[in-house]
Symmetry: C2
Subunit: 223 residues, 2 copies
Amino acid sequence: MAATPEPATRVRRIPELQRHDQRDLEAVLDAGLVAHVGIVDDAQPYVLPLAYVRDGDRLLLHGSTGSRLLRALAAGAPACATVTLIDGLVVARSAFESSMHYRCAMVFGRCAPVEDTEVALQRFTDGLLPGRSGEVRASHPKELAATQVLELPIERWSVKASDEDPEDSEEDLAGDSWAGVLPIECRFGTPRPAADLRRGIPVPASVRQLAQRTITPPGTAAG
Amino acid sequence: MAATPEPATRVRRIPELQRHDQRDLEAVLDAGLVAHVGIVDDAQPYVLPLAYVRDGDRLLLHGSTGSRLLRALAAGAPACATVTLIDGLVVARSAFESSMHYRCAMVFGRCAPVEDTEVALQRFTDGLLPGRSGEVRASHPKELAATQVLELPIERWSVKASDEDPEDSEEDLAGDSWAGVLPIECRFGTPRPAADLRRGIPVPASVRQLAQRTITPPGTAAG
């Protein structure tokens, strides 16, 4: 689906940083773990961090049926889900030109409850930890009833990314100030068993596969 | 300033995860780099990632005077600034109990433009990269005119954090499924000079001090 050229998705500030390829969008959405979801209640905006996964042309968001704001989202209130990855500090020769390396995806729309909570919860589980759904028992009906999985269609969106060197003026280039990028690196660490884990239960494949793996920035070798 | 017990700041979901100490709030705000700021325009919420620093009892947010949403923020539209740090995946014995380790601060209120842009920009620069303002030239008047620094008072806020082991049922505890935490670690990497950096300019102290330093989770030894 293409980005609809509506006001909400047209990047006005520094439009040359906008990307228009859905693969750029998907790369950001697939690298993130948490979306910051905006919702309005009585003219007050709320921004909630929600775990999410991308499932084809929709985002699956996950929460409790007991949450008031989740219920408002489920009822179809206008929403904005923003996923941001911060890849580094851009250290320019002046304070003014200093900035950040980032990738940011915004998806606008209205959420709807997913009918088949069981399948959606499986996709959700495997989206965060690939293969995990095959390692755990099936969900109990009571658990499914207490889980709200929402879908947000990926139809109206924008992506913006910055990965360039600082752009200093000729005058500053001739000066003595350093300029460059201080990268920010995120990765999964070493799995830590729960204090109440019974002896002799090994770390499962799903967790082993992610351990020590780089999350951001893309292309970084795992340490 | 204490958290005002208004509806907007009372945590309804899993209230035992809420923290009430302003030091918890400040620890989250001081560890983050980007706030997700919610603002409403014509009933549509927008969630913008904005670099910020905490300056005492206010957040300083930084943007361009040319941004429509920044201008709406500056005009005092109701806002919500959310800062979230993701510290790990909580891998429970069931999909249902699986979750994340996180710390999340929300600050609600209305922004105002900071009068003394020069001082605010210095605080901003040093908040992200301590000592940097002393290493760069003073800002030009034209640069100051093009910079919008907003302040959001830290008056109405909430903090929520989760750092516990998974809480599985007795039945699941007796099973064969692994449970634990897969930590997520973020740190500053090795500084990369700009392609156009003149030879012989060393990495400045501000950048050297952050290089290789752990951002999250707290208490992790730098690698």
